[in-house]
Symmetry: C2
Subunit: 215 residues, 2 copies
DNA sequence: AGATAATGGATAGTGCTGTTATCCGATGTG
DNA sequence: CACATCGGATAACAGCACTATCCATTATCT
């Protein structure tokens, strides 16, 4: 197919497709002459992927580039595959306040030690956690953190599920794509599920506090 | 204090403070004359809050405005307080594909029914969940969703922790602020914890797969 | 008191990002 | 052969979050 049909099928405008081609997000089609190229199903899929990462996962184009680079890399073994992927798709750091960050770091260190997690401080998520904790404390919302280990345990359950999937998959290219999508698209899904679960818990408690309806 | 000192203490430049004032994110100081105003600790705190929502929670200025409006509202009762807040701080919808969205919606409906959650479809998170699920399926990463109820249960644990905090707090203004901050700043924290937990689970499984070191 | 600096307020300009438009000569299609 | 479409390069655009400039006024310093 040519660019017009690719546009029609994918729902992405021709100028935008050209822009993605320029930026290297989308691989060029196969040139059949000086100004004709053939695109195929892989291009359609790649476009869907880009739009999903932008619209649903909320990534910037630069973030999409990193994510796609991770997906396109061909890992040689499962060993530390996840660690390498995490480094590549990590969000850029936010907080600059060194003092606050150091305090957050201490809390993360304590948490990790407390739970006996086998995690290294160079994981970008370590810094993200430290930033989030420092910020929450700085705003006087420390109460939220009283249950930090509880939150960590719940996310550990999530992580178990994340990796349970990996056990069944032998193809490393397929695995790495699932890890990336599971992480990046999984985040907004988990956020939404949290909000829904909050509504359930809230309404459950409300009912418990009110005498049962005799009707 | 005047705007210069407010800037020095908060680390936000004077032009930016003026911009926030114009936009109504920051309430005006008390005018002592035509071109002099007094600011206080509340302004410092509000600035920290804005920066946290932008830098850590990743909100746009419009999103910050909504969040602040939610924080500033004075609820008359605990009843459905959380639901109202959730509506106000919800992220704007992403997906337009009606067919895909409808399928996602069916999956959310099934999930909620399956778990017996007391949740209404007008919760904005319902749509977000449907969007995320539809997107993941559309990209052929449906395996990720095989454990959807597991993810939902884990997030239910998180929600229990979220609301456990609320029980101890009697002041509604304080409560609403904690709910907003716990949600918006809690999201990146949970994401980071998920990544850390994944590293732990991964390294644990690696060790289990390798014969124990005799040393 | 007089020089200097800072202030509130209005208005305009900036840099970045993501996308869209225009133009070209070449190619495909009816 | 007419006319749409193409790939490719370059320019233009809109939105966002700031940042800079200007002004008449007010505060501060000596």
């Amino acid at each position: 197919m040519r660019i017009g049909e690719l546009s029609r099928i994918s729902g992405v405008t021709v100028p935008t497709i050209k822009y993605y081609l320029r930026d290297g997000l989308l691989p060029p089609g196969e040139l059949t002459s000086r100004n004709q190229a053939q695109y195929d199903e892989r291009h359609v899929r790649r476009l869907k992927l880009i739009r999903a990462l932008v619209d649903v996962a909320g990534l910037s184009i630069a973030g999409v580039r990193d994510a796609l680079a991770a997906i396109d890399s061909h890992p040689d073994s499962r060993h530390n595959l996840l660690g390498k992927v995490m480094h590549r798709i990590a969000a850029p750091p936010a907080l600059a306040d060194d003092a606050a960050l150091a305090e957050g770091d201490i809390e993360v260190t304590a948490l990790v030690k407390d739970l006996g997690w086998d995690v290294k401080p160079d994981n970008p998520a370590w810094r993200s956690a430290a930033e989030a904790i420092a910020t929450i404390r700085a705003l006087g919302a420390g109460v939220v953190l009283d249950r930090l280990t509880g939150y960590a345990r719940a996310m550990h359950d999530v992580a178990e599920l994340d990796l349970a999937m990996a056990a069944d998959i032998t193809d490393l290219d397929q695995l790495i794509e699932l890890v990336v999508l599971g992480s990046l698209l999984g985040d907004p899904l988990l956020t939404a599920l949290r909000r829904l679960a909050e509504e359930d818990v809230s309404s459950r408690r409300m009912r418990a506090a009110i005498p049962p309806d005799p009707a």
